[in-house]
C-alpha cells in the first residue's frame, strides 16, 4: 500500500493544482474549525455559568426558619418559627429518600479563633457528620466530625485549609493541636478543603452541633437544617418542597400557604433548571455542529465531483497510455484522503489554538466563560467522518470516470 512513487506522483499533482487542493482542504478545515470553536465555546459558557453555583452538593436543600405572615388558628402573624433538634429527628424519620442531613446551631458572640499567638475570624459551623457531604468539605488531613463526637459532645474541630494556613504558620500539623473558640479549647481532628471559587468555603471551622448547643447555651435550638435527597426530577423536587413545608406547618402551627414562615433553598431545583437550560444550548450547539459537518461533507463531495469531472480528460490520457482503472481511482482517493486529513488537522489545530487564546484572555474569575475544554473524541471523529465522506464522495465519480472508455474520456473538454 505504501508506494513512495505513488505518493510522489500524488504530491506533484497536488502541488501543481493548488486552487483545487485549497478548495477541497478549505471546506474540511473550516468545518472542523467551526465545530471546535462551537463545542469549545458551549463548554466554556457552561463551565462559566456553572462556576456561579457554590460547591455544595448539587442536590442539597436548605431550610431556614422565618416569621409567619398569615394569621393561623388565632395566632397573629409575626410569630418567629424556631427549629429544634426535634425537627431534625422528625425529618430523619419522615423523609424516606433522605441521603444526608445535618442541622446547625449558630453560636452567638464573636467568631474569633486562636491558636497560640495566632488568631483570626472564621465562620464557625456547628454540624452533624453528614455535613461533610452536603458541603462537599472533604478532609485532606485527619477526619471529619463523626457520630461519636456528636454523641459524646466532644470538643473537636475540623478546620478549612485556609484556616490552617492562617493559624498554623510554623508548618506544624494542626491535627491534635488545640484551637480556642471563645476561649474554649477544641482539639483539631481534621483539615478539609473544597473545590470552590469562593475562599469563604475554605475558611470555616466545623464543630459538632451537640457540643455547641451544650457549651454555648443552645439548648436544643437549631438555626437551620440542610439535607440532600436522592436524585429527583424537577417536578418531584417541587413536590418534595411542598411536603417539607406542610410538615413544618403542621408541627410549628402555621399556614402551609405562608411563604415567609420558613424558607427553603433548593439547590436541586436551581441546578435542574440550569441543566435544562444547558441541555437546550447543548442541543442547539450540536444541531449547528452537525449542520457544519454536513456542510463540510457536501462541500467536499461537490469539490470531489468537480475535481473528477475536471480530470476526465487527464484520466482519458492516462488510460490511453496504460493506466488501470484501479490506479486512477486509488490515486484520486489517496489525493483526497491526504488533503482532507491534512486540512482536518489544520482545522483542529487552529480551532484548539483559538480556544486556548480565548481561554487565556478571559479573566480567571469570569462568571460567564471558563475552561472551554474541547472533546477531542468528537473533534477527531468529525475529522474522520469528513475524510471518509470525502473519500466516498470521490470514489463514486472516480470509479465512473475510470470506467468510461478512453475515447469518450479523451473527447471531454
Amino acid at each position: 500500500m505504501f508506494d513512495i512513487d505513488k505518493w510522489q506522483e500524488i504530491f506533484s499533482t497536488i502541488q501543481k493544482n493548488k486552487l483545487r487542493t485549497f478548495l477541497t482542504g478549505f471546506s474540511v478545515a473550516w468545518g472542523i474549525f467551526m465545530l471546535i470553536v462551537l463545542l469549545g465555546s458551549g463548554k466554556g459558557l457552561e463551565n462559566g455559568i456553572h462556576s456561579n453555583f457554590d460547591a455544595d452538593a448539587a442536590n442539597s436543600i436548605w431550610i431556614f426558619p422565618g416569621q409567619t405572615s398569615i394569621p393561623y388558628k388565632g395566632i397573629q402573624p409575626g410569630k418567629y418559627v424556631r427549629f429544634t433538634n426535634e425537627d431534625y429527628e422528625r425529618l430523619k424519620r419522615e423523609i424516606n429518600n433522605l441521603e444526608r442531613i445535618s442541622s446547625r446551631y449558630d453560636i452567638r458572640g464573636n467568631d474569633l479563633i486562636s491558636y497560640k499567638n495566632e488568631y483570626g475570624s472564621f465562620g464557625i459551623n456547628t454540624v452533624h457528620p453528614d455535613m461533610e457531604f452536603i458541603e462537599n468539605s472533604f478532609p485532606i488531613k485527619g477526619r471529619f466530625i463523626n457520630n461519636i463526637d456528636i454523641e459524646k459532645s466532644r470538643k473537636v474541630a475540623v478546620i478549612g485549609d485556609l484556616v490552617e494556613e492562617a493559624l498554623f504558620k510554623n508548618g506544624k500539623s494542626p491535627i491534635g493541636e488545640y484551637i480556642k473558640i471563645q476561649g474554649i479549647p477544641f482539639k483539631v481532628v481534621g483539615v478539609y478543603s473544597e473545590n470552590s471559587n469562593n475562599d469563604g468555603e475554605r475558611r470555616r471551622v466545623y464543630i459538632p452541633i451537640s457540643t455547641a448547643q451544650m457549651i454555648f447555651d443552645g439548648g436544643n435550638r437549631v438555626n437551620n437544617i440542610a439535607l440532600s435527597v436522592k436524585d429527583m426530577t424537577l417536578d418531584e423536587s417541587k413536590q418534595f418542597e411542598e411536603k417539607l413545608k406542610a410538615s413544618f406547618a403542621a408541627n410549628h402551627n402555621f399556614d402551609k400557604e405562608d411563604d415567609r414562615a420558613i424558607f427553603i433553598r433548593n439547590n436541586q431545583e436551581n441546578i435542574k433548571e440550569f441543566q435544562n437550560a444547558f441541555q437546550g444550548i447543548r442541543l442547539f450547539i450540536w444541531v449547528i455542529g452537525i449542520g457544519t459537518i454536513i456542510a463540510g461533507i457536501v462541500g467536499v463531495s461537490n469539490i470531489m465531483i468537480i475535481v473528477v469531472k475536471e480530470r476526465t480528460k487527464e484520466i482519458g490520457i492516462r488510460k490511453a497510455i496504460g493506466a488501470t482503472p484501479w490506479s486512477i481511482v486509488s490515486s484520486i482517493l489517496q489525493e483526497s484522503i491526504l488533503i482532507t486529513s491534512f486540512a482536518g488537522y489544520i482545522g483542529l489545530v487552529l480551532g484548539v489554538a483559538l480556544m486556548e487564546i480565548i481561554a487565556k484572555n478571559v479573566p480567571a474569575d469570569s462568571m460567564m466563560f471558563k475552561n472551554p475544554e474541547i472533546d477531542m473524541n468528537v473533534a477527531i471523529s468529525a475529522t474522520i467522518l469528513l475524510i471518509i465522506s470525502g473519500t466516498f464522495a470521490g470514489y463514486i465519480p472516480a470509479r465512473r470516470a475510470a470506467k468510461i472508455k478512453p475515447v469518450v474520456a479523451l473527447r471531454d473538454e
Binding site: D5, S12, G316, I317, R318, A320, P325, W326, P406, V407
Partner: protein
C-alpha cells in the same frame, strides 16, 4: 501483427445508429509503415481507436500479436495499451500540469519503473527528438511541433510493438510535418509498426503502404513508390 476480419462498428446516439465500419478486413505485418486515408467521416479515427483498444467494436475480430482483442477486462486492456501500443493524437493530449520529461515518462510509471530511472529514459527519448533543452518546460510553453514530438517520445518510451498516430501532423505546418514524418520513418526503421491516419497526400507518400477508407470499408490500397 495486426489482423482484422469482418470488423463492424456502429455509434449509437439516442435512437440513431451510425454504422461506421462495415466489415473491414486488414492484415498488417510487423515493421510496416502504413498510412490510412479517406474523406472526413469515413471512419479513420474510429478504426485507429479500435486498433488502440481505446474503443470497442461490434462484430468480426481484431487480433493483435495473435491475441483476440475482445471483451478484455479493463486491467488487461490497460496492460496491452501500456506494453503493445503507443498512441499519438492530433491534439497531442499532454498532461498540462506535467513538464515534457514527466509527460514522456508517464507510461513507465504505469509499468512500475522508478521515478529516477524513468525520468532518465525520458530524457534520452527527448534527446532523440532534439528536445533535451525543453525537458522541464510545461506543454503550454512548447510549440505545436515540439508538443507533437513530446507526444511521439511518450508513445515510444514503453517500446511498443505498434504506434498509432491519428493525424499527427494535422496541427503542424508543412516543414514541421515533414520533420515529424522523418522521425516516424526513423522509429519505424527500428522495427516498430506504425499506422498513421492523415488527410495529406505528401504525408501518406512518406509511408510504405497507403490504405483508402470509404464508407466503412477499404476501398483501395497502394504500395507507395518509396
Amino acid at each position: 501483427m495486426i489482423e482484422l476480419k469482418g470488423l463492424h462498428k456502429s455509434y449509437i446516439t439516442g435512437n440513431n445508429k451510425l454504422h461506421v465500419l462495415k466489415g473491414l478486413d486488414l492484415i498488417i505485418e510487423q515493421g510496416e509503415l502504413i498510412s490510412v486515408m479517406g474523406s472526413s467521416g469515413s471512419g479513420k479515427s474510429t478504426l485507429l481507436n479500435v486498433l488502440g483498444i481505446l474503443d470497442s467494436y461490434d462484430e468480426g475480430y481484431y487480433k493483435l500479436n495473435n491475441t483476440l482483442m475482445n471483451n478484455l477486462t479493463e486491467k488487461k486492456a490497460a496492460h496491452y495499451r501500456n506494453n503493445m501500443i503507443g498512441f499519438v493524437f492530433q491534439s497531442f493530449n499532454l498532461i498540462s500540469f506535467k513538464n515534457a520529461m514527466e509527460n514522456v515518462a508517464l507510461p513507465l510509471y504505469y509499468q512500475g519503473v522508478s521515478r529516477k530511472k524513468r525520468n532518465q529514459i525520458a530524457l534520452e527519448y527527448l534527446d532523440r527528438m532534439g528536445l533535451k533543452e525543453w525537458a522541464d518546460h510545461m506543454p503550454n510553453e512548447l510549440s505545436g511541433g515540439q508538443m507533437q514530438r513530446v507526444a511521439i517520445a511518450r508513445s515510444m518510451i514503453s517500446k511498443p510493438k505498434v504506434i498509432l498516430a491519428d493525424e499527427p501532423t494535422g496541427a503542424l505546418d508543412s516543414t514541421t510535418s515533414l520533420e515529424v514524418m522523418d522521425l516516424f520513418r526513423e522509429i519505424n526503421s527500428s522495427g516498430i509498426t506504425i499506422i498513421i491516419v492523415t488527410h495529406e497526400k505528401d504525408i501518406s507518400e512518406k509511408t510504405d503502404r497507403i490504405i483508402y477508407l470509404k464508407d466503412g470499408i477499404i476501398e483501395s490500397e497502394f504500395i507507395s513508390k518509396n
